[in-house]
Amino acid sequence: MIEAKGVVKRFGDRTILRGVDLTVEQGETLCIIGGSGCGKSTFLKCVIGLLRPDEGRVTVDGLDIAEMNEETRIGDYRRRFGYLFQEAALFDSMTVWENVTFGLRYLTRTDPSKFRSIAKDKLALVGLKDIEDFKPAELSGGMKKRVGLARAIAAEPSYILYDEPTTGLDPIMSDVINDLILDLQKQLKVTSIVVTHDMKSAYKIASRIAMLHEGRVLESAPPEAIKRSENPYVHQFVEGLSQGPIKMKLKDYEPDAAARQGTAG
């Protein structure tokens, strides 16, 4: 179980997360939706411990990484997670199969002679074959994303954090990834947090959807409830309307709008 309580994260004098409360039950898939730059990736990084919250705490199975300082205990915490980066973050000095199996050396006791065939299996799961010996620079954006996904699931973690798993994929491949996420949840009982803009995918895979806006959770409810939400912000977002309470300022420079649009995606 992942529990976030009052998570506040600042970068310099900009407060990105202003008190996020979220709980992810065992076996659940929580989708986080929200505008670009509202802090979705930042939140995922706080969960896995890449960033430390300035206030509040995140606990996973009762463990709080902020209280750990021994490398072995941090390792034990981290071993529970697989993480798909928004831009894949593949190691560009390594081949695809070395990327996919990189974590096995540190997170598991797998025999290195099996790495290549494991990589082949994991790549097949994300719909890729015969690219084991390519370098990341030779792949398209969508392929990189899928290699990143294969890498995230290679060590068979019990929690998977997906940062926009279907962005940049064609509709069919998006659905393949949706099915994969559902399979992992059903068969391996994986607990996941999925950050996404893709409402179709969110409705399909989520057991619950949470909308993040201006650093707080506006609403967190099952997909059907979100679909019919009366909250005007949530309604505008899930319907993708340009008119509504969420203003995307294009002209006037305004710190808040700049913060929202700071990083695309």
């Binding site: 896995i48 390792g75 190691f91 060590a155």
Partner: protein, 263 residues
């Protein structure tokens, strides 16, 4: 106006202390990982080969010409005062082995391999590859920094010895061809005067330089921020800071070695 000045001074000081704190953290974390003996052997080997091969040609070339110019200057001066070229081998070899070999090699390697390290680690930082290392169960210090620091410690002394030979041979060519110094005179000027402690004086310094250059370049690399522009900025800063550190530390290392009688 004054408040702006105070803010600027305050922020600069804060930046310096913050940087120093992060740098200390990096060094401490490196020592901790080394204490745990978890060394990435393969990565270290890859870095040794890369730094060595990258830097070897330019190190040999610069040192060769340094030896040549020393012989030329010394020959002229000696000719002027004594009407014949005296002790050219002695001057060239002492200058190269004790001072110029170690310093020039460190500076050339900082510009070649140090820049490459800062740019590579900087790119890895801004594309989140450094974060990915963490999520995959290892640690940037263990996987990236330690292999590079160890590789520098292994390679820089070796390159310096190569540079010493190259410089002395460069000096020999000029002495023999332009000054008409007989070969055995040049070599005897060296062998009769050079003692092991003269060699150690230059050699031990290279460990100081290797440590400072590698840590500075790794530090600048993994603390890079701000996309491609940030990578450019941190690479330049890494090279400039490394070079300055070599020249400054050279003075202190020399003072310490002199105090210990290794001179």
């Amino acid at each position: 106006m004054t408040t702006a000045l105070f803010t600027w001074v305050g922020e600069s000081l804060f930046g310096i202390f913050e940087g120093a704190g992060q740098f200390t953290f990096l060094v401490r974390s490196t020592i901790q990982w080394l204490g745990r003996r978890s060394i990435e052997g393969r990565q270290t080997l890859v870095q040794i080969v890369r730094i060595g091969i990258d830097s070897m040609p330019v190190v040999l070339l610069t040192s060769f010409f340094t030896g040549m110019v020393l012989a030329l200057e010394m020959g002229q001066t000696s000719q002027h005062f004594f009407n014949e070229p005296l002790f050219i081998g002695t001057v060239v070899s002492f200058a190269i082995v004790m001072e110029l070999g170690p310093v020039m090699t460190a500076i050339v390697v900082a510009g070649r391999a140090g820049a490459a390290i800062a740019a590579e680690l900087g790119t890895m930082r801004v594309t989140e590859q450094v974060d990915a290392l963490y999520t995959l169960g290892t640690d940037p210090v263990r996987y990236l920094v330690i292999p590079r620091v160890l590789a520098f410690l292994a390679v820089l002394p070796f390159l310096t010895v190569m540079a010493d030979f190259s410089g002395i041979i460069g000096g020999y060519f000029v002495a023999a061809s332009k000054m008409h110094v007989p070969p055995n005179v040049y070599w005897h000027d060296i062998i009769d005067n050079m003692l092991p402690r003269h060699f150690w004086h230059g050699y031990l310094k290279t460990y100081v330089f290797a440590t400072s250059v590698s840590f500075i370049c790794c530090y600048k690399g993994i603390t890079t921020r701000g996309g491609a522009e940030g990578v450019g900025r941190s690479t330049t800063a890494a090279v400039v800071m490394s070079m300055v550190s070599v020249l400054v530390l050279d003075y202190f290392a020399t003072a310490v070695l002199n105090a210990l009688g290794i001179t």
